[in-house]
Symmetry: C2
DNA sequence: CGCATTTTTTGAACATGTTCAATAATTGAT
DNA sequence: ATCAATTATTGAACATGTTCAAAAAATGCG
């Protein structure tokens, strides 16, 4: 391993540890550099902005989420169960960062952010996040129209984004409300998605799928 | 009018004008103070953080949105039409700020923000925003179950938040995609909401309303 | 009007993200 | 090993949000 790889890894670990312990705001670049034993300028040689360090954290969390979800899916073939596993394991993966979640969210959304869930720069972590929901769908046996099934991973990811946003501002004990919402929403999806096969649902469903398709074009 | 009211108004106007012209990042407190003819410290006497100035902007935009929506509702009694009016007038009100929208969004969501749509400090602008959708619902004659009707303004506001988020990152010409999404979503709501009266929808609807009720508790 | 009190104003200083020219270290070829 | 080229490192300086003690101005009462 080259020295530079060493230095980069040192900065990354130091940043992630500090983000977890102290949150976004209290983790200054000066502090990271100091603890990593380098100069502030050197930290900028490796990571152009503080937000790029947040991206490292984001990647870490997504990996964790994917792993945990896979463990929780077990042998279940029911979409509601799988979805609940995906949602709750996501909340578990982000749990340690809840105290400073608004700070991370704000940083993530900043215009020059490397991390925005909606931006081009975050394609890898986003793909990982959507992969969780792809596996929710792939592993279920519920009868869902093919066209809906194709778009479902991303729809479920959007729902997860909503849940995450709720979680960020959830002050209940250990975010009990968010967990309850995750369970309830999973059950609701489990109820509603099979209804998509019924004839009366054809119109609204196609309307919605068209809408999503054109929004994505 | 006392001198202090004068000074506060001068700062507010200067900030809002600059936010519109230059966006969030290029509008520094030093620039605002300079153009208002005061010192930087004095600006902080009136507004504790830069975000409090963003709240003034937010209030202005919401007022504009409410006024525009009222004009656009006209004599229409159809929920899809009224909703479209509400959505599009909102996009019109925020239009001048699109170039810097991610910056404002990021600032809005910051932990210490006075502006977060989900925070206690923004109760007034949020109430105004929800009022738009209250008037969408109050003025329509579509048959919608009472319990859903009661929760609908806030649900529609959440949908509008989603639309706004889409709009922030919409790079299409004059945000044509967001406008098309607004139209399409309004039609979809117009199709789906009346279905809520049908017996088979009773289960999922109640499930959803329960979920929302418990999330809000 | 004078005066005590309160409010407003100021500008220097601070904190933190960021930049960059100069220097040091590393790398790869001979 | 030497050397040219490239990469990594540094620390001072800068930009911008924010703070605060001191001074100035405004206010209200007798």
């Amino acid at each position: 391993m080259a020295k530079s790889d060493d230095t980069r890894a040192k900065i990354t670990e130091t940043a992630i540890d500090s983000f977890r312990e102290r949150g976004y705001d209290q983790t200054t670049i000066r502090l990271i550099a100091d603890e990593a034993g380098i100069s502030v300028g050197n930290a900028y040689y490796y990571f152009p902005t503080k937000n790029h360090l947040v991206q490292e954290l984001y990647l870490r969390v997504q990996r964790d989420h994917l792993e945990r979800a896979r463990e929780e899916f077990g042998s279940s073939k029911d979409i509601a169960k799988r979805l609940e596993a995906a949602f709750l394991s996501g909340l578990d993966a982000t749990g340690p960062y809840h105290d400073s979640a608004p700070g991370f969210l704000s940083a993530a959304i900043a215009p020059t952010s490397a991390v925005s869930p909606f931006g081009a720069d975050a394609a890898e972590p986003r793909a990982m996040a959507i992969q969780v929901f792809q596996e929710v769908v792939d592993g279920c046996t519920n009868a869902i129209p093919a066209e809906l099934k194709r778009q479902l991973p991303e729809l479920l990811w959007l729902a997860y984004m909503g849940l995450t946003l709720f979680w960020v501002y959830d002050n209940s004990d250990r975010q009990a409300k968010s967990r309850a919402l995750a369970r309830g929403a999973s059950k609701l999806f489990g109820t509603v998605l099979p209804l998509a096969r019924l004839p009366f649902a054809r119109g609204p469903l196609n309307q919605m799928l068209d809408l999503i398709r054109s929004a994505r074009a």
